[in-house]
Symmetry: C2
Subunit: 113 residues, 2 copies
């Protein structure tokens, strides 16, 4: 029990970790990030794929950009976003694997298509 306290990460690491989880704690942002798992995409396509307004997407992307989860590449008047954070990528893969797994266990819930 004393060892538990010793193994506890530093406060700064905990707030950083909590922040990352917080960024993933929104269905809209999850949609964006899952879409970006496959490769880069422009804002308008992200809005279409995620079913959100372009303004909402832009706000979300700004937040993710501020935390270096995604990076933007400008091409003319379009902006292409890309998932840049390997740790977040792993968390997303894990979450995705988990939903696919529970999908296999509870198929009555139904999927996307």
């Amino acid at each position: 029990m004393a060892s538990v306290r010793e193994r506890m990460p530093a406060a700064q690491d905990l707030t950083d970790t909590a922040e990352v989880f917080g960024l993933l704690a929104d269905p809209g942002r999850l949609r964006l990030l899952l879409a970006l798992l496959e490769g880069e995409m422009c804002v308008c396509d992200l809005a279409a794929v995620s079913g959100q307004s372009e303004s909402a997407v832009s706000h979300a992307l700004r937040l993710l950009r501020a935390h270096r989860i995604v990076t933007a590449r400008r091409a003319g008047r379009m902006a292409f976003y890309r998932l840049e954070d390997a740790h977040v990528r792993m968390l997303l893969d894990l979450a995705l694997a988990h939903t696919e797994h529970t999908q296999a266990i509870h198929p009555e819930r139904g999927g996307t298509r």
Copy 2:
């Protein structure tokens, strides 16, 4: 790009996943869950280890209990909590590995001890 939409999980799965991430998006709850990685602990020890008031810990545990992340075992007037969710355990392990890794890269930040 059409394939991206097809691979997108169902709305319910996304909100569930976002909810789980949301539960991890708080340093206080992270401390509790990390402490529970090692095994079960009573509320008072969790409060001590996590440096929070017992009321705050009780509220946090209630939330985690409601989502079946932890379960409680009563023994006399004490309650022992245990981490019950394998998926959350994996997410915590991954996050922990990541902070230890960045620790190795940026040792100037300093650790707990």
